[in-house]
Amino acid sequence: MSDASPLQESADPPPPRETPEEQVSYLRAGYSLKSWFFTTDHKRIAILYMVAIMFFFVVGGAAAVLMRLDLATPSADLLTSDGYNRAFTMHGVIMVWFFLIPSIPTTFGNFLIPLMIGARDLAFPRLNLLSWYIYVIAGFFTLYSLVAGGVDTGWTFYTPLSTMFANGHVMAALSAVFIVGFSSILTGLNFIVTVHKLRAPGMTWGRLPLFIWSHYATSLVLLLATPVLSITLVLLAAERMLGVGIFDPALGGDPLLYQHLFWFYSHPAVYIMLLPAMGVVSELVAAAAHKQVFGYWFIAYSSMAIAALGFLVWGHHMFVSGQSMYASAIFSLLSVAVAVPSAIKVYNWTATFYKGSVSFDPAFLFAMSFIGLFVIGGMTGLMLAMLAVDVHLHDTYFVVAHFHYIMVGGTVSAFFGALHFWWPKITGRDYTKMWGGLTAVLIFGGFNMTFFPQFLLGYLGMPRRYHSYDPEFQVLHLLSSAGASILAVGYMLPVFYLGWSLRWGKPAETNPWGATGLEWTVPSPPPKHNFEEVPVVVEGPYHYPLKHPASRD
């Protein structure tokens, strides 16, 4: 066994035998609460994150449902103005910091990084558990601010509204975001050290799956950008609580300073949300095409380029803020540049399908959905980078549509794609493919119906964060609300068939998709310590066709 390539997989399932202690699946290694809440196993921590994150996805989603219902008519009927403002603030805070930023890295990243590089765990397993607890504590602060009455500043906390005028529970929300930042920082640190130090023998940088490259890039951004946010929030708190004049001009401060600091973090943060999704899609595309990805190094380095360039474009959020004309021109140019590495990825994915052997599995459909929606989100982002266009579209529904196309259309599709692709590995169960495909199609259709009309609304001049609006906008708003209900059905379907699979699904094979990658060489679900013997890697990733494809069907 020791000289065999780890990427080879025997066609027949291993004969049943008494499994030794360390070969017991991670799911069966203890059933007590303690074995979950004090685990240091990266796979169990990934499940803990999954549960917590899905909870917040539902809470954030509920706020969205309230808003969409209210926006079905031009007048303010369902919510009060204050209530509406609190709904979109909570929606933004929760979706950004409690769903999107941690979503893929802390669940699939946590689960897969050690498996993909041939390690037994992350470099700092206890730190990993600590990150989860920090996330949960921060989550309680968020829930407190929600239950206590909400926050009315928008997730952007612009000054001086947030420091001197807002009367919601701003401090609780600030604390939540401040605390959850440490969870991000520790996760980033853990991933970086793991990728540097724990690669299996023969797993050179050039043999890393692209999922690892994108998580590595993400981790660098997490580590470098998050502290800026933490400090900014401390300054905000100092002004709100102690009246120290930093941002409020009435106290001698500068309100634009806040925007610079905030976007210096928050623009890189959108890449924290996006890069892991791109890593997922690279894996899904290669597995669907059963082919070596086209332009491996271009995709790998484009992740690094995005991470670096992402720090240089924050000013594109401030074109109408009164920032200097020259600064705006430079930020506009840099924003065009930051789109190049993303475009490179899309073209390479496309080329990967050429002469592939493409299967229409749910994971493939989600990957297609990602590419389609992300491309539209990206191109409209470029439109917004054109100065004169942005002056008209800034702070309108066009922007709302743009970032939902990227964050929901892109990242959330990739999240669902990852869920459908690695579900058999994580749970050891197969689900019904047909339902997965149907979900992908529903989400794609519902999404476009929800958010495409918002591009039109934006160009017609409908500002965002509006509780009531001119009746001329109603038709488009109604369409959007109707689409949202389809979208909601799409998001809820997996609860049923994936839930069903947990109990009644067929036990999954080791390699149900016939994919390359070390994670597909260990049993499904993987044993507690991942690898019986340390794997030795002798070839690059995506070495298709497999010599002994573990055939399905």
């Binding site: 009435a250 332009g295 021109a329 002469k355 229409f360 008209h392």
Partner: protein
């Protein structure tokens, strides 16, 4: 409910038409760049779907030539639009000479405008003559707001403690939306009104109908006395304070050694934060008028200081 959905926002200026052209041009480019990707993925996925017997030999793992061309090609195309976007933006940001001056103050949740020459004031409505350049100087009394005129494709954030400006020439008479685009608290969504673009004749009529008896500068002159400024700054005063006549637009040397141009912002700061920038050679005795003078009065005072030449000053006292 209304089933009539406008397909395109009204264009009230030549500039708006140009922005639309840029937007549509870029949309065309988007289609040009995106369609090949979608079509190729579709073709590849169907042609090479698993189990289908097709020629899969001569697969490649990459091509530097291809990578370079699909990185550089679209980039250069977009650069063209970038230049176009910058040109239009610079155009909009450049203040026209001889523009009609209007001041705007925003506060939670109301817009107030004053017309400099006639001193007319209006709330949540803005009347402007068609075909004449207009310059609006904006400031906020509380949080950040944003003056958004969709029919002109223009928007400018309105900051507390700072002046920003928005200039335009509206061409097409009509009534268009005026909205607040920056979230500013509970009633953000209803902080709007309309901009009325009128033929110069109608505008002149409107001015006389809403007849204020004093121009903004004249009102400022009154305030200058009411707030006691003239006690120190007036020519008859015994206090050593700078003569403000002809100050506007001139460089001022400060005690700190710096030199600063006396613009709207400088005059405003001199009144609210006199100790931040002391004029060279004068004692720092000017009291602060923070929390005493409202934004609108500040604007009137500034208009007065700006309009007074040395001669007017003398004959006044």
């Amino acid at each position: 409910m209304s089933f009539v959905t406008p397909l395109w926002p009204p264009q009230a200026s030549a500039y708006a038409e140009q922005v639309d052209r840029l937007f549509l041009g870029f949309s065309a480019l988007t289609v040009l760049l995106v369609l090949p990707v979608f079509i190729l993925i579709g073709i590849f996925a169907l042609k090479y779907r698993r189990g289908r017997d097709v020629d899969r030999t001569h697969r490649t793992r990459g091509s530097v030539w291809l990578e370079t061309s699909w990185a550089a090609g679209p980039f250069l195309l977009v650069l063209g639009f970038f230049a176009w976007g910058v040109a239009l933006y610079v155009d909009a940001q450049t203040e026209p000479v001889g523009a009609l001056e209007i001041s705007g103050t925003a506060k939670q949740w109301m817009w107030k405008f004053s017309h400099h020459p006639g001193g007319q004031r209006e709330i949540n409505e803005l009347h402007v003559p068609a075909g004449e350049p207009v310059k609006i100087t904006l400031t906020s009394q509380d949080v950040i707001h944003s003056l958004y005129l969709p029919a002109l494709r223009l928007k400018q954030d309105v900051l507390p403690g700072r002046y920003t400006t928005l200039s335009f020439t509206a061409d097409r008479p009509g009534t268009y939306a005026l909205r607040c685009a920056e979230f500013c608290g509970a009633n953000h969504a209803v902080m709007g009104g309309r901009i009325v673009v009128q033929t110069p004749r109608d505008y002149a009529q409107w001015l006389s109908r809403s007849g204020a008896d004093k121009s903004l500068a004249e009102r400022g002159k009154l305030l200058f006395r009411q707030y006691g400024c003239s006690g120190c700054h007036g020519p008859a005063s015994s206090v050593k304070a700078p003569d403000l006549a002809g100050l506007y637009g001139r460089p001022v040397s400060l005690e700190s050694g710096e030199t600063i141009i006396a613009d709207d912002q400088y005059i405003r700061d001199s009144i609210l934060f006199p100790h931040r920038a002391i004029a060279a050679g004068y004692p720092p005795i000017m009291p602060t008028f923070r929390n005493v003078i409202e934004e609108e009065d500040l604007i009137a005072l500034t208009a007065f200081i700006r309009n007074t030449r040395a001669e007017d000053w003398r004959e006044e006292e």
